[in-house]
């Protein structure tokens, strides 16, 4: 076994005492401990979201036994599994088998909340880039953390889960890219939940200073088991003027894992943010993905792919918030639903008064593969500007039998034909990704989901 034992809090629960014990154990600075306790108070005060709120009408968390979960767990992993995980992460960059380090700029692997592996190129360090787990960041660059951590982007008082996250946040990724620094190769970070009955609170903070450029791929997975596991994550992406950030979140959780997370980007003037959220695993997964186009000329591309099987439940609430003129957002979320899987997409485009010459596009396409599967799609517009281009489209459809007949008439079995059509359905999103290894990795996930079922 490899791992970090410093955060082991065996059989503790999500209480104030646990929080204090943890903070002391980590010898955290006072400001952080204070923020944690404030957030915990908020967590206790704020009501549990439920069907009385529009946002939670279709996603039921009553089955989540929050009070019986242990924060962090053990953070251990079998060496075999770690090796397999690293091989997978390497494949995302397009590197062939073997150790070709130059294919990524940095690699960070964390089990529940402890660091298992950390590796980054010397060039990266020389350029002043900081890429580390959150705990190291708190130790090494406390001023930066105090300035940014849940202050400018996501705030603890927004809802109960964000408060909970702010109280217990640990693990996750801190990435700081100085002004003008461009990193060509991707940085990869993986978070792993080991064990059952565990809750984790990974926090990702990316500060990309003006004119910088970086790609961060985050992989999320869990070991599975009978009892529940839970991740309440938050991703803050802060883009200075002219910064280019590509953020990719891979949801490969085991089926016992629930997730409630927020990914939010704040874009400065002429900044460009690309996000991709790929959800294949998990039990009930709710992710809010938001782009706040604060600076004039900012651009955000928001991509999503998901594939639900069994009784999986995915909920995506997206926000394209145009606060300034000449801003552009382009959202495309595509999902396939099989068996009794259910997906919810609620996408809001909001253009503020004065956000003239805005371009906002939103498209959500869902492919239903079984009678018991369901997809709800709810586009919503709040437009206060009067000179803008805005389109949105949503569809829920089945595979066209004509497509199947055409492919079968060439000798493909029905299963092959369906697989090819589903693959093609996702191509529209995948073809937009400039990372070949990642595209292949996603195709393999789709194949696995297809093979896991009858047709």
């Amino acid at each position: 076994m490899v791992g970090d034992s410093r955060t082991q809090l065996v059989a503790a629960q999500l209480t104030r005492e646990t929080l204090l014990a943890l903070s002391k154990q980590l010898r955290e600075p006072e400001w952080l401990q204070k923020r944690r306790l404030e957030a915990f108070d908020l967590y206790q005060q704020l009501p549990m979201p439920g069907p009385h709120l529009e946002e939670w009408r279709r996603t039921d968390l009553s089955g989540l036994a929050l009070d019986s979960l242990t924060p962090y767990g053990q953070g251990m992993i079998l060496e075999d599994e770690l090796r397999r995980l690293i091989a997978f992460l390497k494949s995302l960059t397009g590197a062939p088998e073997g150790d070709r380090k130059e294919e990524w700029a940095g690699l960070l692997v964390q089990g529940s909340s402890g660091v298992l592996l950390q590796d980054q190129s010397e060039a990266l360090k020389a350029q002043g880039v900081l890429f580390m787990d959150l705990r190291s960041a708190i130790r090494e660059v406390p001023d930066l953390l105090q300035e940014y951590l849940m202050v400018r982007c996501i705030r603890p008082d927004e809802d109960k889960f964000r408060a909970l996250h702010a109280a217990f946040l640990a693990g996750g990724t801190f990435l700081y890219v100085p002004r003008g620094v461009e990193i060509a190769l991707p940085l990869i970070s993986s978070v792993w939940i080991e064990g059952e009955g565990v809750a984790i609170f990974p926090h990702t903070l990316v500060v990309a200073e003006s004119q910088s450029k970086v790609t961060l791929i985050e992989d999320h997975r869990s070991s599975g088991g009978e009892a529940q596991a839970f991740s309440a994550g938050a991703v803050e992406l802060i883009l200075g003027d002219g910064a280019h950030v590509r953020y990719i979140s891979l949801g490969n959780w085991a089926l016992n894992t629930w997730e409630v997370s927020t990914i939010r980007g704040i874009l400065g003037r002429d900044a460009t943010l690309h996000t991709l959220v790929a959800s294949f695993g998990g039990n009930v997964v709710k992710v809010n993905v938001e782009s706040i186009l604060q600076g004039q000329g900012a651009t955000s591309e928001m991509l999503g792919v998901f594939f639900g099987t069994g009784r999986q439940h995915f909920d995506f609430h997206t926000l394209q918030e145009h606060q300034s003129p000449h801003t552009t957002s382009d959202l495309l979320y595509k999902g396939a639903l099989a068996d009794r899987a259910y997906s919810v997409f609620a996408g809001l485009i909001r253009a503020h008064y004065g956000a003239q010459k805005t371009n906002a596009f939103q498209s959500n396409r869902n492919l239903i593969l079984s009678d018991g599967a369901r997809a709800d799609s709810m586009p919503k517009l709040e437009i206060m500007a009067n000179d803008l281009r805005c389109t949105h489209g949503a569809s829920v459809s089945r595979i066209d039998e004509e497509y199947i007949f055409y492919l079968m008439s060439r000798g493909l079995t029905r299963i092959q034909a369906v697989h090819m059509i589903v693959d093609g359905f996702f191509s529209e999103v995948l073809d937009r990704l400039p990372l070949e290894g990642l595209r292949e990795g996603l195709r393999e996930e789709i194949t696995k989901k297809m093979q896991g079922r009858g047709t």
Binding site: F405, Y406, M408, L412, T413, G424, F425, S427
Partner: protein, 277 residues
Amino acid sequence: MTADLIVRDLHVAVEEKVILKGVNLELKKGEIHALMGPNGSGKSTLANVLMGNPFYQVIKGEVLFKGEDLLSMSPDERARKGLFIAFQYPVSIPGVSFASFLRTAVSARRGYEKELMPISEFQKLVREKLGLLQLDPSILTRYVNDGFSGGEKKRAEILQLAMLEPEVAILDETDSGLDIDGVKVVAEGIQALYERSQGNLGILLITHYSRILKYIRPHTVHVMFDGRLVVSGGPDLAEELDARGYDWIREQYAVVTAEIQETGAVRRAGKVFWVQH
């Protein structure tokens, strides 16, 4: 030698409407049969039902392909056994790469079970066939039929014929919608494939016009009318139809229909015959 494709008294309906009312046809490998007839006579229905399009319901009759019951096979089994259709209106399938589709199809036809045909072998094969049909290799990087011009769609269908090397190919109005040059390229491609097959390819060439028959000489010409094959003859029949149109068939068919209702017997009026089963 018995024929490779035998259609006996085939009746087919689409959503309760009977389209084919007793089709009889025999085709051997190495033969080219032209199937002509006015619009709406049932030519495309025959093509689709032979390939197993689930939209059509067989209500009576049988079809043997290489001695086996074709109608009990799924479309993919039919294809793997060597039956092919070039569609009149091929569907475009967004997102599905033409190259990977072709490679999967060729692999299925050639009996690769788990793996696909090696990529180098596939590329060699496809390059050769692309040249034959004057298709730009960039077509392989596009999605299946997506954004193809009318001519590209038809040539892409024949490219699939070339790749899959079927024993019996049904070409459903492969010449329609093309200009003279387009017809020439497609027809010459088909003719070349036919010649290369050295007697191992039978073709049922469905066409509304006779111009493609200037490039591809059929051994037999059939005329379909009101869901039946009512006239069969040699290549000269196509020329006659070209010169005279279909009206004379319509008239003779009316005579036969009237008589058969009275007597229930096998009738013939001029060239039009009808065998009551």
